[in-house]
């Protein structure tokens, strides 16, 4: 009898050995930052479920105009999106604001539930495509002080390196809470999220995405994108706050390899000037989430706007940014992009670059010198540089 008991115990223990192993932690973008409390873990899980598992249907408020049916649909595994979920925005060509808000701007809802017609970009409106970004480490970006962000800005190019870097000064949404020690300029605040840095915080990002991407009205963003009128909330404040918390507490990607070639590529990255905008290191300030407070992190971005030249100027903008100005996208997790983009790269703001090399070569404006430096590298050096970028 004892023998059978041991056999059964062994069998049960062995069960787990026949199950798929977890991928290495540095192969995944999802998962919480280390050091959350038990209560924070619970809220993270609630946010995770709302973000990745909740699918909106006609019965639960989808649309009638929409881009996607769930948050996770645009950010698979919390990674970058795919051309299928790339959205279009239109209607603002300069700093005077969006002139097409009355015609469905700023975002095109290119899908509609049965019986409804999709939106079209109005004649005369300029537009740009936006590929969904990875959600990596957003809480760390949120916790950087305004002063630290502005420390990298060089609007007049005082150091003469051809790179300026400016903040996008935006209106604060009524529901957003001003960060402690915020720097305000003419009543406007520094935006730090979104490809044009036109979003102040993750509450604005989340509430706007529910509204503009899925057609879900909330107490924060109560205007229905089809009716252009205020409607009853279709999602609870608690769920939105849970998703905000989830986004804040997603971990940062870890470099996946440090071979000699990769270290050599990292040196080249600095040598040819990439690191002037894609700044490797930043620090968070104070945060109510202890796990995010006063931490050093490695986003490879300065989160400021840079003129990227006419090649990347779509004629559309947001906030105080010029149409040719784009926020430096963080490069952390770049090598994992293919795992969320269906096995190939769709890089730059609209996914037009199908490889890292192509993305570099499409840089212009303030990044022109760095691009030329890259072109001047040997084949082997280029390979090392790309290996480094893929290791992030």
């Amino acid at each position: 009898m004892k023998r059978y008991t041991w056999f059964c115990a062994l069998l049960i223990t062995a069960c787990a050995e026949f199950e798929p192993a977890a991928p290495a932690d540095n192969e995944l973008l999802d998962g919480p930052v280390p050091g959350l409390t038990e209560a924070e873990n619970l809220q993270f899980i609630r946010g995770d479920v709302a973000f990745n598992d909740e699918v909106f249907t006609v019965a639960t408020g989808l649309g009638p105009l929409f881009v996607a049916t769930s948050c996770g649909g645009c950010h698979p595994g919390d990674g970058k999106g795919h051309p299928f979920t790339t959205l279009a925005r239109f209607g603002q060509a300069n700093q005077t604001g969006n002139q097409f808000l009355h015609m469905g701007g700023p975002q095109l809802q290119n899908r509609a539930v049965p019986g409804f017609s999709v939106e079209q970009i109005p004649a005369g409106a300029t537009s740009s495509l936006f590929t969904p970004p990875a959600n990596t480490g957003l809480g760390f970006v949120d916790a950087v002080s305004d002063a630290d962000l502005l420390a990298w800005a060089d609007p007049l190019d005082a150091d003469g390196d051809g790179i300026s870097g400016i903040a996008n000064w935006i209106e604060l949404k009524s529901y957003s809470t001003e960060r402690p020690n915020s720097i305000v300029q003419n009543g406007k605040y520094i935006g730090r999220f979104g490809k044009k840095a036109a979003t102040y915080d993750l509450l604005q990002q989340t509430a706007t995405a529910y509204n503009q991407d899925i057609g879900i009205a909330s107490t924060y963003e109560p205007i229905d994108t089809y009716l252009h009128a205020e409607v009853d909330p279709e999602i609870s404040n608690q769920t939105i706050q849970d998703v905000v918390f989830y986004l804040k507490t997603l971990k940062v990607p870890e470099p996946r390899s440090t071979t000699a070639e990769i270290l050599s590529g990292k040196e080249l990255f600095t040598t040819i000037g990439c690191a002037k905008c894609h700044r490797p290191e930043m620090k968070t300030g104070a945060s109510p989430i202890a796990a995010l407070a006063n931490k050093t992190f490695f986003p490879y971005s300065d989160f400021l706007l840079h003129d990227m030249g006419p090649g990347l100027d779509d004629g559309y903008t947001e906030g105080s940014a010029l149409t040719s100005e784009w926020r430096t996208p963080p490069l952390w997790g770049l090598g994992l992009s293919k795992n969320s983009q269906g096995g190939q790269y769709f890089l730059l703001h609209d996914g037009r670059a199908k490889s890292i090399e192509q993305a570099i070569l499409l840089h212009g404006g303030e990044a022109n010198t760095s691009k030329e430096n890259f072109e001047a590298l040997t084949v082997d050096e280029k390979k090392k540089l790309i290996q480094f970028l893929e290791s992030l």
């Binding site: 049960i12 006609v58 929409f66 299928f84 509609a112 539930v113 049965p114 969320s340 983009q341």
Partner: protein, 408 residues
């Protein structure tokens, strides 16, 4: 007070009262094991228990299991599940008029469904009328789904999630069989209530025919007033096996209400082919079913919901040992293997021209022990691969399942 005394007396009486029914009066109707039975007959080809000359017979089956599955390193741990308790009541109302009902409790009482409740009237073997809640004869599994008949704990994904087994609706239809030497020819044709627009708006985030099962009103009224047509033709040879071809289709959306036009009529059409045989030399049992689904999804909706889907499964069961085991003198031990494949979306992305992912593959090796033909104890190991819409690296789920299923 008086009531309490009566209850107390009844309880005391019950304590000292033995069974009043002579168990020898119970008669077990064994299922027909002739090789001319078809999937069409599965609903009546079950072991029933009848009492004396009462025209009512009872039956059912139960299945429960343990499983330990993990997905990409994350496991829900040890799980014990009461998958199903199903009760049958059959009655011979008159010569060639019969009734059968099947009520299923799934996952305890989480789902309670009337899966079948029909009156059959036989005018001629080739012409039978069936009406009530019928199981639409799409594929073979939908009609032939009893747990004790299968060597696998999970039902096939292609049969239960691509096709919507168990898929029952209210309606009427005709069926019949023709025997000719070693051949049997059969047909079925039904008009029933059908699908609704949940098949393209559901929390599965894909075209998902079983989503319409959430519409309990379908037993009371049609969603759009257009009947769902289900037809099947099957042919069986005593030694070769059975081949079935089936079709089910109709309008799934609400295209008008109160005389106002809401949309164009949008159709869902499904085709299935099923085959089963027993290889004579090895006694190997093969069962397979494949389905193709075509759904008219509006162009302005989302490609998340596929216009075309396909999938199926192949089961191979090989009896290995036939000898008494633990005193069960007709024991059989089988080796079993299942392969399943479902492509939830056969389209290509409008934006890239690349194939849409959303595919499922599963392999399930297993061993089963049948101490009696109506009881099966099963040990399965399953390994699934599921890719998302974009075809990103598949999530992998695997683990062991152990359980039983038995008619009673």
């Amino acid at each position: 007070m008086k009531g309490s005394v009566i209850i107390l007396m009844l309880l005391i009486c019950a304590t000292y009262t033995h069974a009043q029914v002579d168990s020898t009066l119970f008669k077990r109707t064994k299922p027909d094991t002739s090789r001319l039975n078809m999937n069409l007959d599965a609903v009546y080809n079950r072991p029933f228990l009848s009492v004396g000359k009462l025209p009512v017979s009872l039956g059912g089956y139960v299945e429960a299991n343990y499983q330990h599955l993990g997905t990409d390193g994350v496991s829900e741990g040890h799980q014990f599940q009461m998958r199903r308790l199903t009760l049958f009541v059959a009655s011979s109302i008159y010569r060639r008029i019969k009734f059968l009902s099947e009520i299923e409790f799934e996952d305890g009482t989480k789902e309670i469904n009337i899966e079948f409740a029909s009156v059959d009237i036989e005018f001629h073997p080739l012409l039978n009328l069936r009406g009530g809640i019928v199981m639409n004869p799409i594929g073979a599994f939908n009609q032939n789904h009893d747990g004790p008949k299968w060597e696998f704990i999970d039902r096939p994904v292609s049969a239960t999630q691509l096709l919507p087994a168990i898929w029952s609706n209210v309606g009427f239809g005709l069926y019949g069989k023709l025997y000719k030497n070693n051949w049997v020819y059969a047909y079925e044709a039904y008009l029933t209530n059908g699908f609704d627009d949940q098949i393209i708006s559901n929390t599965e985030n894909k075209t998902f025919l079983p989503a319409s099962k959430l519409n309990a009103d379908r037993f009371e009224e049609s969603f759009n007033g257009v009947p769902l047509i289900t037809t099947k033709a099957a042919i069986r040879h005593k030694r070769i096996g059975e081949l079935g071809l089936s079709y089910m289709g109709g309008v799934y959306n609400k295209f008008q209400e109160d005389g106002l036009v809401l949309d164009v009529k949008r159709r869902v059409d499904t085709w299935a082919v099923d085959f089963n045989t027993t290889l004579p030399k090895t006694n190997t049992y093969l069962t397979t079913e494949w389905a193709y689904i075509l759904v008219d999804v509006p162009e302005t909706y989302t490609q998340q919901y596929g216009k075309r889907q396909a999938g199926g499964f192949v089961d191979v069961v090989q009896p290995l040992i036939r000898k008494p085991i633990f005193g069960f003198d007709r024991s059989v031990i089988n080796a079993a293997f299942r392969f399943e494949y479902v492509d939830w979306n056969l389209e290509t992305f409008n934006e890239t021209g690349n194939s849409i992912g959303d595919r499922f593959i599963s392999v399930v090796p297993g061993i089963s022990w049948r101490p009696a033909s109506q009881t099966v104890i099963r040990l399965n190991y399953r390994y699934n691969w599921q890719t998302d819409l974009f075809g990103n690296p598949a999530s992998k789920t695997a683990g062991f399942q152990f359980g039983f299923s038995s008619y009673f």
